[in-house]
Structure formats: C-alpha cells, structure tokens
C-alpha cells in the first residue's frame, strides 16, 4: 500500500477524533436504559451490511442505508452517532476484513453523517412520535439527504486527496449517482420508524426479510442482461468477421460511448440504450455489404445515407425508440444541431458519432484507410469541436481518457490571438 501523505493522515485523524470527542462530551444524552433497542439496531446494521444488493448502475447498494435512516429518525444526534458507528465498525469489518485506519475512518464518517442527519431532521421539526408523519415530509426527506451529502463529502474528500481528483466535481458526481437509489430507501425507513414507534421495536426489522428476495431478482436481471448483450455482440462480431478491417469495431465504439456517457453523467437507463445503439450503429451495413468490401468505389454520400437509414429502420423495431434515432443520426455533424433549433439529434447520437470517429481514425476503419496516431486524432477532435462534434462531448472525452487540457476552455485559438494582441 502506498504511504498516505501528511495532509491525508491529518484529515483521517481529525475525522476519527471528532466523533470520539462528541461521544465523550455528550454521552449523557444517550438513553442507556433503552440498551436492548440500541443493540437491536446495531445488530440490524451488521446484518444489513451482509445483504449487498447489486446496483444496476454498478457497485453495490447495501441495505444499511435504510436502517441508518431509521436510526437518524428515531434517535437524537449523539445516539445516532453511537449506533451508526458501532454497527458500521462491526459490519464493515466482518464483510471487508480489518484494516485499522479504514475501519475507524469509515465508522467515524458514517457516525458523523448520521448525527448530522438526525440533527437536521430534528431542527426541521421532525418527530417520530408525531401522529401523522406524512405531514412532515420536509424533515423526512432532508434527514437522509443531509446524511448522504455528508457521507459523500468525507469519502469524496479522502479519495480526491489520495487519487488527486478534482474534489468538488467528484463530490457532486458521487452524490448525484446515489441520490435516486437513496430516495428509494426512504419509504422503507419511514415504515420501519412507524412500526418501531407505534407497534413494537422489533417488528419493523421484519422488513429486512424482503431484502434477500430483491437481491436475488436483481442479480438474476444483471446476469440475464450480460448474457443477452453478449449474444447481440457475438452476432455482430460474426458479421464483422466476414468484413475486412472492421473487426471489433462495434464493441470498441460501444466501450468508448459508454465511458463518455458515464463521464457526462447520463442516467443508467440511457447509458444502456447508448451501449445498444453503439453496438448496433452499423447494423444497416449487414444488408449492404458488397459496397463496403469493394475498395475501388469511393465512398458516396448516398451510400452513407443508405446504411444509416436502413439501420434506423431496422432498429425502429426495438421497444426503445431512442436507439433508432441514435443509429439514424450517428453521422450527423454537430453543426446541423446548431443550425436547426428544432433539431432532434440526441445526446446519444452525438456521443456515438464521436466514439465512432475516434475508433475509425485510430484503427483505420472505413471510411479511413490508414490508422492515425493518438496525437493526430486528438488534434482532429480539437479542430472539429463545435463543428463536427459537440464540444461538451469532446471535453468529456479528454477527461475520460486523461488527455491534457480536459479542464481548459475549448476555444484556445481565440485566446491565443487575444493574448498576442
């Protein structure tokens, strides 16, 4: 393991020391006489950390979120800190193994976030004993969101220091990526709270029973999805085998397009559509293969037109209409979008357009005859940004593939002339 630099270490120490200090200073506010219930929640957090649910967007959602929200609804800040930290330190250690600084840091930041969430919930007037909790929608939503923002803040700051990534961007992106799945955890947490306060402290934990069922179904879904995608891919590859020089093109374009879409923060369902669209972008060529294999015939625009239109017509049968649109417009220049205000060229089509250009240039794939080096391709993209390609996507491409100049404004030539003047 690489050695952590001084400022990272200092940050870790402060984060670990803060909850210890808070705990010692305010331990009198913890209702120790409720120890069986505190114990039940600690146990629930431990159990929930074993129940990882695969997030379709990648990564794992642990059911701990739901339990933690219930904790911050039910207990005052210091108690929430105590329960969340102790549950987390046992849970994460038993699932991920003991690494001292990691276990302490994670437990500390989860505890601090839970305390903050609980504080906000209470300050906004939330009260679990309230008869009609649905009239308190604001605190019910704010508590978990504050928890999540704070959680992402600590983790984001840590990783941005260790991996030298821009902090603010990372923080926002990571919060945005988990926001939706976290909001979905709130109803379960409110229900848990209601069952806890109105019925019996233990009955609410029966909710945890349904989680394995959901985990199983999601796993099945992810497994099926990858099998299906592989099949489509191998069929496309079978066609590519009969073609000169295009082998692996569809897959590479799909990989680049997915990377760009993720970089641009496209929601997961649309990323999936873009992947499909990229895999299928040249499906119209299957029926037109003769023209392609004949190198003597120069590329005519009518031929270009034909493969796009045929492809879109075929893709039109898919239940997702946006895929046909991507296939149709994947050669449309970006300028066309600008000229026509009502243009319907989607982000997906613009992404695939750039991804295809990159792969075709780098590998010398039709319509290009010779592969070009990376630097030339880079120069071409810079040149074409705003004309052939969407500048935002070119920028995302540089960020995603760690090219220099990712964060600089794009119209550098103009700036140069200004400074020269």
């Amino acid at each position: 393991m690489t050695k952590l630099s001084f400022d990272v270490l200092a940050f870790v120490y402060v984060v670990v020391a803060a909850p210890v200090f808070l705990f010692v200073a305010f331990s009198s506010t913890i209702p120790w006489d409720l120890y069986p219930q505190l114990l039940v929640f600690i146990l629930a957090i431990v159990l929930a950390s074993f129940l990882g649910i695969q997030n379709p967007a990648g990564g794992i959602i642990r059911a701990t979120g739901t339990v933690l929200y219930a904790v911050l609804y039910l207990f005052n800040p210091i108690t929430a800190l105590f329960v969340a930290s102790s549950g987390h330190i046992v849970g994460s250690t038993s699932t991920r193994g003991w690494v001292t600084w990691r276990a302490c840091f994670n437990a500390a930041q989860v505890g601090l976030s839970a305390a903050l969430g609980s504080l906000v919930f209470r300050k906004l007037g939330g009260d679990p004993a309230q008869q009609d909790i649905l009239h308190h929608i604001a605190p019910v939503l704010a508590g978990p969101i504050v928890y999540q923002i704070s959680n992402n803040f600590f983790v984001g700051l840590f990783f941005s220091r260790v991996r030298r990534l821009p902090f603010l961007w990372n923080w926002i992106a990571s919060f945005r990526s988990v926001l939706f799945s976290d909001l979905l955890g709130i109803p379960a947490a409110v229900l848990l709270t209601l069952l806890y306060t109105r019925v019996h402290p233990v009955i609410g934990l029966g909710l945890l029973v349904v989680l394995p069922f959901e985990a199983w179904a999601l796993e099945l879904y992810l497994q099926r999805r990858s099998v299906y995608l592989q099949i489509i891919e191998s069929l496309i590859r079978a066609w590519e085998l009969s073609q000169p020089r295009v082998r692996g093109h569809a897959r590479r374009v799909a990989d680049i397009a997915v990377a760009l879409a993720r970089e641009l923060g496209v929601v997961e369902r649309d990323v999936e559509s873009i992947e499909f669209g990229a895999l299928l972008h040249d499906v119209g060529m299957i029926g037109l293969d003769e023209t392609l294999s004949d190198d003597q015939i120069p590329l005519s625009s009518s031929w270009m037109d034909a493969h796009v239109k045929v492809g879109a017509e075929i893709a039109g049968e898919l239940p997702r209409r946006e895929i046909a649109e991507m296939v149709l417009n994947h050669h449309a220049p970006y300028q066309a979008t600008l000229r026509d205000r009502k243009s319907t060229i989607s982000l997906g089509a613009r992404i695939i357009s750039l991804a295809e250009e990159v792969d075709s240039r780098l590998n010398g794939i039709f319509p290009y005859k010779e592969p070009v080096p990376y630097s030339t391709m880079h120069a071409i993209l810079t040149d074409e940004a705003g004309r052939g390609f969407d500048p935002a996507i070119v920028k995302a491409f540089r960020r995603a593939f760690r090219l220099p100049g990712g964060e600089e404004p794009l119209d550098t030539p103009e700036m140069n002339t200004q400074s020269a003047a």
Binding site: P56, D132, I133, L134, L184, P187, A188, V190, L191, L194, L195, R198, V199, L207, V210, L211, F213, E214, A217, L218, L220, Y221, R224, R225, V227, Y228, Q230, I231, I232, S234, L235, I236, A238, W239, L241, S242, F276, L280, V283, G284, I286, G287, L288, D289, E290, V310, I314, A315, E317, L318, P319, R320
Partner: protein
C-alpha cells in the same frame, strides 16, 4: 381468427364486470372514502399495474392485485373493483398511449371480474369467505381463491389466443405463475397488516416498499423483450441481403411455432423452435449478397458456399447460452425427409423434429412470396405443393398439421 376470439372474450368480460360492479354498488352501501387517500392509492395502483412481469409461455402478471386486495379487505370490495378497472389507464396515459389500450384494459377487467365473483361468493356464502372479517389469515385464504380464479381466466385467454393445447399449457403456466402469485399474496397480507397497525399512511408506505422489491421483475421482462427484438433486428438485416425476403425469418418463426403447437409439442421445445425459426438463416450473414440475390442458376462453388449457411449458422449459435438448444435444429433445417438434403443427408425420424417443421414453414413462405422471376403462389396452391412433396421432401406429419391449421384459418376468413 385470433383477434376475433379475443374481442369476444373482452366484451364478455366487460359485460360481466359492469354487471357485478353495478350489482355491488346498488346493494352495498358505498362508504365515504377519504378522497386524498383514495387518489394516492389510485396513483399507486396505476404505477403497480405498470410493474408487469411476463409469464412463460404467454400472459403477464402485475403488482396491482396485491394492493387492491389489501384495499378490498380494509376499505371495501367496491373500492377494490374501481381501482382494478380504472387504475391501469394511468400507465397507458403516461406512456403517451403507446401501449395497446385493449391489453391494458383487459387485464384490469379480468381482475375486476375475479374480484366481483369473489365478493358475490362472499355475500351468498358468508361462511366460506368472510370478506370483511378482517383477520390476516382470512385475507390470505381469500387471496388464494382470487389468484386461483385469476389463473383460470389467464389459462382460458392463453388457450384461446395462442392456440396452445390446454394439456401442454397448464404445467408451464402454473410453474411460471406460482412464485409471482405467492409473492403477491404475501404482499397483500403485509399491507393489510400494516394498515391495521398504523393506518392508511402505513399501508401506502408498505405498498411502495413492496413495489420496489418487485421492480426487478419488470426489468427482467423488459430485458427479454429487448433481446428478442434485437435478434429479430439482426435477422432482418440479414434478410435484407435479399430484398425479396423481407421479414422472411419472422414469418417462418411464426409458422413454425403454430405447427409445433398444433402437433402438441411441449412448450420448451416450442420455444427452441421459435428461436431456430428466427435464426435459421443467420448463417447467411457470411454469404455474399450477390450470390443470395442471383436469380439464375448458381455455379457449383456458389452453391457450396450457399449450402454452408446451415452449418455456419449452427456453429454461430451453438455457444450462445439460451440459444444453444436451437443450434441442432438450425444445422439440419435443409435435410429432406427422404435423405436427399444437406449438410449431412439425414432421413426420416433421424432429422430433429424442429428442423422438419422449419423446412415446411420455410418452403411455404418461399412459395407464397413474390420473387424477381415469378409471382408468389396463393396459399391454396402452396399447400398443394407441400402436399405433393410430403414424404419425399417434407415430413407428412408436419405438413398435415400445417394444413389443418391453414384450412381452419382460410375458412374463418371466408365467413365474414
């Protein structure tokens, strides 16, 4: 034929549902339901009817019954019936009416009919199903009756609509339904319990949480639909090499499924035949379009490369998980019954049954579509050709099954 039967079925059920609803509304005193709660539950049932999972071999199930069963038990059957009929309109409106309205309404109407029947049973024989008695166990029992009746309706609809023999349908459909129905019964009981413990707010929350748990099933079904249409697309692209055979593979697949079901094959084999019918020409992906399109006689070399498509296609799909079972069928789909076909020259029963069926379907579609050098034959003429060559080229059993199917269909077309 298919759509007419289904229309009669819908009308019949619609009338029944209307009748029972009217009967119940007139006899029972409609209680005042708190409007905001009712709107919230209505939206929720609408969303739940969008959470739809496909069943094998046909039909679908959605999450709505769990909610309106819980509502029926805690508020009243009338409320449950109104929800069942009206809420499925919500996803239809939200999908910008892209979903077929008839399918949407059909499901809701079937639900309502079953619910109505249930409450009629309850009102005539109160001891059997004390519907408002209100213990969780009763709701469990009532839900079981509900889903049994629901299954019967689904069974009848699928037999009528898909032409599957009842004996072949029962097992697979039940196996496919059982896990969904048990989850929905459990969900209804949970929601009802929470309603008694906490009140309507609790029930709403429980419904949301349970619907979330059910959501992956919709994803799964959607993914399967996306996959099947992607296969169709790629096949369509291959068919485009010969512009005269547009959608050829899809029609062959449909014919082959009809024949297989008419012969009473098990549904697992029918599924393999459906895929094999769709993919039977996938091997042509590697054959030059100029050869496929050539109207004149092919040279020996060209014939050889054309004939390789069966082997090539089989090799392509043999490794593709769910499609693998169809590989053997694709490989032998040009074998003739008397052993004169290719690639191996198998004869009679040695040829996989699926391949024999696809050969008939393939020939029929080739005969009835127009070619550059001749016009397509009529269905009757094509049937005659099949009959003459039954025993030499085609399996007589497959031809007989196809004949009986087409004769039925042709007669049904003549009647109006």
């Amino acid at each position: 034929m298919k759509s007419k039967r289904e229309l009669v079925w819908t009308l019949l059920l619609g009338a029944l549902a209307g009748g029972t609803l009217g009967f119940i509304l007139s006899s029972a005193s409609v209680r005042a339901v708190q409007a905001p709660w009712f709107v919230a539950v209505w939206l929720l049932v609408g969303a739940a009817s969008w959470l739809e999972a496909p069943l094998q071999p046909a039909g679908e199930v959605n999450f709505a019954p769990a909610i309106f069963l819980a509502v029926s038990a805690s508020v009243g059957v009338e409320a449950g019936m109104i929800l069942a009929i009206s809420a499925p309109v919500l996803p239809w409106l939200l999908s910008l009416r892209r979903r077929p309205l008839r399918g949407v309404l059909m499901h809701g109407v079937e639900d309502a009919v079953v619910l109505g029947a249930l409450s009629l049973i309850a009102s005539t024989v109160p001891r059997v199903t004390a519907f408002r008695l209100g213990s969780v166990a009763t709701l469990g029992r009532v839900s079981l009756v509900f889903f049994s009746l629901r299954f019967v309706l689904l069974f009848v609809r699928t037999t009528l609509g898909q032409g599957i023999r009842p004996g072949r349908l029962f097992g697979p459909l039940l196996r496919s339904c059982a896990p969904h129905y048990s989850f929905l019964v459990g969900a209804a009981m949970t929601m009802y319990l929470v309603h008694r413990l906490i009140g309507p707010a609790g029930m709403l929350l429980a419904a949301i949480v349970l619907a979330e748990v059910y959501y992956p099933w919709r994803l799964l079904g959607e993914q399967r639909g996306l996959f099947m249409t992607s296969l169709k697309m790629i096949i369509e692209a291959v068919d485009l090499k010969d512009p005269y055979t547009s959608r050829h593979s899809q029609r062959v697949s449909n014919y082959a499924v009809m024949i297989a079901r008419n012969m009473g094959l098990p549904e697992t084999e029918v599924e393999q035949i459906r895929v094999a019918g769709l993919m039977h020409d996938i091997g042509k992906i590697g054959v030059k379009g100029s050869i496929i399109r050539k109207p004149s006689r092919l040279s020996d070399d060209e014939m050889e490369s054309m004939r390789r498509h069966a082997e090539f296609g089989a090799a392509m799909i043999r490794d593709l998980g769910p499609l693998a079972g169809s590989g053997r069928i694709v490989r032998h789909h040009h074998e003739h019954f008397n052993g004169t076909g290719y690639p191996v020259g198998l004869a009679g029963e040695a040829i996989p049954l699926g391949s024999r069926i696809i050969l008939v379907a393939d020939a029929f579609d080739a005969l009835t579509t127009d070619r550059p050098y001749r016009k397509g034959k009529s269905r009757e003429e094509a049937l005659e050709v099949l009959k003459t060559n039954a025993g030499s080229q085609f399996d007589p059993r497959a031809v007989a099954a196809f004949r009986s199917l087409l004769v039925q269909r042709l007669e049904a077309q003549k009647i109006p």
